[in-house]
Amino acid sequence: MPETETYHSETIYPVIASDIAMQGTKTIDSLNRLVDYSSLDYIDVPGHLLCPICQYPFVNPYTTKCGHTFCKECLIQALEPNVDLSVECRCPIDRRPLNRDYVEDIFPAPKIISNMVNDLVAYCPNKSRGCQFQDQRWLLQRHIKDVCDYALISCGGIKEDGSVCSQPTHRKFIMEERRIQRDYLLYGYSMLPPTNARLMYGSSNIHTKNNIKDSASSSESVETKDKSNSLKFDQPSKNNLHLNAIKDTKLYQKLASQDDMPLLELQEDIQIPCVHQESDCANGCGIKITKATKEAHNNIGCTKVMLSCEYCELQVAKPKLNLHFEQCPEMTISCSAKAYGCTWIGIRRDLEAEHQSKCHFIAMVPFLSKQDKKIELLEKENKSLRYHLDNISQSLANLPSFGNINRNDSVSSDSTTYSIETTESLGALPVLPVDLSMTNASISHMLMENDRLRADLDHLTTSLAELEMKQNTLFMQENFRNQEVMHSIKGMINTLRQQIHYILLEHRAFTTNSSNPVHIINQSSKVASTNPELLRRRLSDITRQDVKL
């Protein structure tokens, strides 16, 4: 599906769904800006498609080299290096080092993942305004742009002074207006079908034509409250002007020649009056309404729309219905002392006529409500006392460790405001004198500080002793080592002395015994042949000792 590919394109901008005037938004890029995927109301999302960071279905999924997937936005934020680069950025799931600037570390997730999240079904972002539509999320952009009745689009209508209105309004008001205008252009009158018929325009076209003949009877049969009624009264005059102005234009000819032209193609060309123009309510309640507010007004605000009470069948204006329910004699209610235990249920008339005089609970109501009030007051008092206590104990807990004077200040000012509050609200409550509580606080602060300093001193002394001991052992070790070295040196000196001694003996023997040069050579070579061995052994002794050191 090539179209899907286009919709699943790179960036989705976090723009509030439909609150953009949408005239002239036709490119796919701007379509992408219409729906913020991270604020949709999804239906039934499998857990694997939720980003571990924002806990919502992926938006622009990115995968790490360790195989974990997040929204691009979330991942980039999570891998933001901190200022001094002291902490390495790691994967939020398995803590493997990642660098967000390396393409081999983080990269767009496989297409199948983005396709799967884009196929998730969600409600139209205009659900809160009344749209019940739901579809796969990548299709919602389309829906809002072309179809959604509750999308805000700019009015584009002609105001009374001739200028073009740019205020936003729900699409359905514009569409209704356009349909009316089109009908006027084509047939000279409008039979406005119910709101959603626009979607099936192609067929209703013929239907409207057939109705021309008996238009009189059909418009009479429509209920008085209906929209077609107001059309009859406030539309024709303006429209005829409008129609005359437009009658000779190419558009009119185009319309007249092409009856079956799909509505969507016509919309943009039809000029409509501004839907924000105020007019009097058709029911004669005296309130000014616009086409955009008419529906809401008729449903809740209009005092001329009468409804009959479901209990007493009295005709009551809609806004006053709730008021009537509070006194309707035929309404089923429970006893006014229900909260205190009466289980009586009946119509209001009976309550007033008989039950009220018999009910023991009702007799108790004044007393019980007084008790309730008292309890409430005590609870409030208790709460503020607890708060006060918490503050004090917290300040006590904080003082010894930080010696935080600011903290102390804020606490005592808290207690000041508190005591003022209590004198005001609770009257005769005994209140701690503010000064005393402040001195108390500072004294306890001093004591705590003292304690803290003493503890610090203790700590310092022990660590000093520890340090001394460590120093001593170090020194001793060094000493031992030096002694050993000295021993070995002593040993070496001894061997050297022995050797010198030996050489001296040889020398003496040589000078006394003979003057034969050959003998001398033999002798000295003998010395040379015995000595290396001796030397080697000594040397190896020394090296062994070195190793030991």
């Binding site: 604020s39 806990q55 807990a397």
Partner: protein, 148 residues
């Protein structure tokens, strides 16, 4: 500043599907501030105790860890007298993939397995190392006195 959807979602889940032994409720007037109660794990010195904590989600949450501390006094080598908790996932090892729920579970686990080798309350940790039996007794006594 509106509340991020993730916080709303986490809160909903904490209330609708609570962790056994842990209760977390957001404040009425500040939805980033939670009152938390953790039950002392069974067969730990904190058994039978109900420990109150406060939890606050900073502006940057979930990019930074929640701020959390014990309000109930507790004798534990990894919790200091201000109630601050020494737990790696609350500091250097925080990850935005962690949640309030997982953090509270870690704290519950910490109550079940004190770690005197990575102490915050130095004197308590020392006492714990020197004489564990005695330290456990103190912890039980404190639990009885402050957390029941």
């Amino acid at each position: 500043m509106s509340l991020p959807k993730r916080i709303i979602k986490e809160t909903e889940r904490l209330v609708s599907d609570p962790v056994p032994g842990i209760n977390a409720e957001p404040h009425d007037d500040n939805l980033r501030y939670f009152n938390v109660t953790i039950d002392g794990p069974s067969s730990s010195p904190y058994e039978g105790g109900k420990f109150k904590l406060e939890l606050f989600l900073p502006e940057d949450y979930p990019m930074v860890a929640p701020k959390i501390r014990f309000l109930t006094k507790i004798y534990h080598p990894n919790i200091d007298r201000l109630g601050r908790i020494c737990l790696d996932v609350l500091k250097a090892n925080w990850s935005p993939a962690l949640q309030i729920r997982t953090i509270l579970l870690s704290i519950q686990a910490l109550l079940g397995a004190p770690n005197p080798d990575d102490p915050l309350a130095n004197d308590v940790a020392q006492a714990w190392k020197d004489n564990e039996v005695e330290a456990v007794k103190t912890a039980q006594a404190w639990t009885k006195e402050f957390a029941v």
